[in-house]
Symmetry: D2
Subunit: 122 residues, 4 copies
């Protein structure tokens, strides 16, 4: 990183500029962006669908790079949606972690990854 | 932000710690995490599926907060997958933006959002 | 339809045979098939993501055919998953319709498509 | 099946009637339906995300029933989208199987489930 580009803010500004220069803002409703985001998430899933869990941990360099580019696409649409809705992503993530800390107390869920809804039935 | 928590690195460290304290690392293969990520992306989509594009731009405070929490979940699983695969998300996003700058020259795609694959057919 | 192939059963048998002849049954766990299914669902979404709702109703012949092929892929993986889990899809759909009839009484939800969870909060 | 309801046509008619009686046709653009469909596909994925492949093959009765209801939802939105676009799902699936027979010759892909795009690179 040579240009102080480590933050999501710099990324968000670059993406807004990218869209503006192409007159693409008209397409970037949160509804449409959520569709684009899930389509990119599916491309990530597609890389892993026929791999075993173990294989998914040890990708060769080409595959890892392709996976990194799909993840970049997900981040790009996520940041873009956040900008459109004026949502602070990092702050939201910290808030969600706090919620999860309470929802899944470490001592109660240790080694057990059942879905939240299934816990709630307990 | 009071604890220098603006970066994805701090978030990633907190999430690794969260998983470790619950002995959940065993479930966090990239394959499984990609599934969790797309499930969260779908919850975002679900918020918008019956809204018009216009309605999706002007959410009331409750809906906006619910949307922010879904987006937090997406970021959380994205950061977690990146950590598992040793991928630098921010760096990857900047690389992808450069690729997109060349793939979609502003003067060529102005006001036109057809899919990349459809351009390629031109 | 000239070969009595109108049913999902005939389709399911053909798909099982297709997988067997390729020795692909080993990859067809319900977990993996659900990933393949959502990847195909995303390809459908991708066709519509930058279209308006109106445009999505009036596709030209080429686009309609491409959409039909994505929908075929979704049906294929859905039928394949059902076969692996010994689930009767058609019967399940009729059961779900009955549940929905009770969950969304016509007179109560007329013209209103809010999410089920939002109704439940009422 | 007691009412000759084995076909997708009967299902499609019942779903059109269901939407009409609720005045929900206004929300059922193909764009919106594709979003609802992928949201249901994600609920299927969610059931499997923390299971091993083996566990996903041997669901207990409750889980199997919950999975059947998610799959019913996917079929319902798929059939509904097909009706809106006047697409014959069963016919499309048979056409796609023919395409796949040529694309993946049994002798060439035996025991190998790499993605189509990766084959194409060979």
């Amino acid at each position: 990183m040579t240009k102080g580009e480590g933050s999501l803010t710099a990324l968000s500004n670059a993406l807004a500029d990218f869209a503006r220069r192409r007159d693409w803002e008209q397409f970037h409703s949160p509804k449409n962006l959520s569709m684009a985001l899930i389509a990119e998430a599916a491309e990530l899933v597609e890389h892993f669908q026929w791999l075993t869990e173990e294989q998914s941990k040890t990708l060769d360099a080409d595959k890892k790079d392709a996976v990194a580019m799909e993840m970049a696409d997900i981040l790009i649409y996520l940041v873009r949606t956040a900008e459109r809705l004026d949502i602070d992503l990092i702050d939201s993530a910290w808030r969600k972690i706090e919620i999860n800390e309470k929802r899944y107390p470490a001592e109660k869920v240790h080694g057990d990854a059942r879905r939240a809804s299934e816990y709630d039935k307990d």
